[in-house]
Symmetry: C2
Subunit: 400 residues, 2 copies
């Protein structure tokens, strides 16, 4: 995580963000990332059948080698908006393209916010007219963008990483939003990764898919896959520098993975109303997909999440959630640790100090659950948060 003093802005990008009047609150709600030249670009998107117009727009364009900009708005998802929604996404790209001096198909768009309302295009267009001319490469502009893409997040989520080895140097700046409507079906929020590492789309797309698989796809707030999930990565120098290969490419892929994992952890920790950040380690499965299936059921069980909220070491809820994941293990294969304390061993309860474990859960925000089976080497690390009355309050009254 980086504050605005410490972030390294990749070469070739400028940004601008501000208030377009899309959010009823009047907060910042429009951000634009502008590249000085054509960028290599890749993306991953929600697997929801009901997906937003911007998702469809971007899917039709990526991977690509000539992207010039990303326009992001918060406060309105432009999802479930029919033909008019699709026209509005395209119109957003067209207006940005006109201001930048490129084709509409060189502009990616992303939206987040309430579903089912048409974008206020007059406000979006006026916002673009005002913002794009003042796009800048300074850190404060990127900081403003990281705030303008938020909805119910309590703070911006930014990762800045740099690489320098044997004369090769590049940096990567990633930001994300997401605090609810997060379930692990592809990417599960908005994230934008800008880099000046010279990587072609043919390398960028698999690197991004791998990173997303082990980060945003290991994250759930309440299991509700969004209509708008979008992760975009832009490389500004693919056309002007020798392309990364071998160890350098591996190092770059590691940076993308690391940035995505950091953002995923930040999102789980900032889950709506959350008071606990929960790391779930599942191990000893036949393969990673078995481990993922178990992790998801544990992460998405309201009963597990409320027990942890209440500092209640009611571990039966955890093993029973594992039990309905569709994995055909036997109880005798299963052991469970909560914050390092073994509470269930090879299918039978242990005599642990429940009061001490509860006190630990009460005192610490971070919780670790470790379930070990005896079936193989498959494992996964997964992140979620607890379920609180505050989550209910926040979500019982979102549009009204």
């Amino acid at each position: 995580m980086a504050d605005s003093d410490a972030i390294a802005i990749p070469h070739g990008f400028r940004t601008a963000a501000g208030k377009a009047g899309i959010k009823p609150s009047g907060g910042p709600d429009l951000a634009v990332f502008v590249a000085d030249g054509p960028c290599a670009a890749a993306g991953t998107f929600t697997t929801n059948r009901v997906c937003a117009a911007p998702v469809k727009w971007c899917r039709g364009l990526l991977p690509a080698d000539d992207i010039r900009a990303i326009v992001v708005n918060a406060g309105n998802a432009n999802a479930a908006t029919g033909a008019q929604g699709a026209a509005n996404a395209e119109r957003t790209a067209a207006r940005a393209a006109e201001l930048i001096g490129c084709e509409p198909r060189q502009v990616l768009v992303a939206s987040t916010g309430v579903i089912g309302h048409q974008l206020p295009m007059d406000k979006v267009e006026a916002g673009l007219d005002r913002l794009i001319p003042r796009a800048s490469a300074d850190a404060s502009s990127f900081d403003e963008a990281s705030r303008a893409i938020l909805t119910t997040d309590t703070h911006p989520k930014v990762v800045s990483l740099s690489y320098s080895e044997g004369g090769v140097a590049f940096s990567l700046l990633a930001m994300a939003k997401g605090a609810a409507m997060i379930g692990p079906r592809m990417a599960t929020m908005l994230a934008f990764i800008l880099t000046d590492a010279p990587v072609w789309p043919s390398d960028l797309q698999p690197i991004l898919l791998d990173a997303v698989e082990d980060s945003f796809n290991c994250l759930s707030v309440e299991g509700h896959a969004s209509t708008n999930d979008t992760v975009l990565i832009l490389s500004s120098t693919a056309s002007t520098a020798p392309t990364l290969r071998g160890e350098e490419l591996t190092a770059f892929a590691g940076m993308v993975r690391s940035a995505c994992e950091s953002l995923a952890r930040m999102m789980a920790a900032d889950g709506e109303g959350a008071t606990h950040f929960i790391t779930i380690d599942i191990e000893g499965c036949r393969d990673r997909e078995e481990a993922r299936a178990i992790a998801r059921e544990v992460a998405e069980s309201a009963l597990v999440k409320t027990a942890i909220h209440g500092a209640d070491p009611n571990w039966g809820r955890i093993v029973s959630a594992a039990g309905y994941a569709g994995v055909d293990f036997d109880e005798g294969e299963l052991s469970l640790w909560i914050n390092g304390v073994c509470v269930y061993e090879a299918g039978a309860p242990t005599a642990f100090d429940a009061a001490a474990l509860s006190a630990g859960l009460k005192a610490e925000r971070d919780v670790t659950l470790r379930l070990a089976l005896r079936r193989g080497e498959g494992r996964i690390r997964f992140w979620t948060c607890d379920l609180t009355a505050e989550y209910v309050h926040l979500n019982a009254d979102y549009t009204t």
Copy 2:
């Protein structure tokens, strides 16, 4: 639904219930149903891999034609309790069998309550010693039993049905418990159905499976499949009366289905902390399983449930939940009605009166959601409840 004045007790059954000291609250927690002679019996159970010792015990015995009793305790699930848990389930059956004068394999057992604690066998056995001798066929005994099987339910759930046609008469008395840890994977709670309809196990088992499929398997409180789900049906007169056939058997099957559906509706309405009872109709799918997949995602979405709690007609959450059910529909196929008001038609938002719809949601406990696709004739009716801060409070502090 029946009060104790109106229920018809099927011939051949007696019951007793009371306080055995299993529940920390000191409330009623032990019930016994005793048949005067051998009963035809069938059962359905949780599909959770982590299932309770009583579930394993009953699964090994059913269907059967010589069951004499069911012992039910609340306050302790006897789940995730290893070899000692299995021994305790068998010991419970053995003590009841000794008191009744039958074999242990003629006694079914069921438990509900906290997972992972060993049954206090001294209290269970002392309770059986006290209760079984005073088992009675009067309505108040059955009423007491319907209360002794509860955990967090706010009221007992009982259905009493009678049939009389052309000299053939029989009755059916069903009761259930369940207000949380309810997800639709088989039966999802405890339910006991007693009848004096003369039906053999070979007919009883498929009749019960069919009824469960359209009732308890169309029910979700929070999607967490229990370790203890058990539905048992006992027929007292299969060995002494001509067996039902043809129209009479069809009428009986309809009664079982009707009783199960009534109990399922009662359970959803009594979901922990619930302020709304939600009926979800999914129609126009290719088949019933497609409809069920969509219904489950809608029913189990915390975002849908909190929106309804807040009387917020935030319908985007409903169509987006449908979108990640794994059904490959297109948005343009989908329309949605909330309490009869069309809010989304063929993939586009309608201009509905949000304030009026919200006022209706606020005023009425019952909510209906209707999603129509255009793929075929597959449909399902599914039940759930809203998610409230009270649910969180109840479950954040259950064992501590």
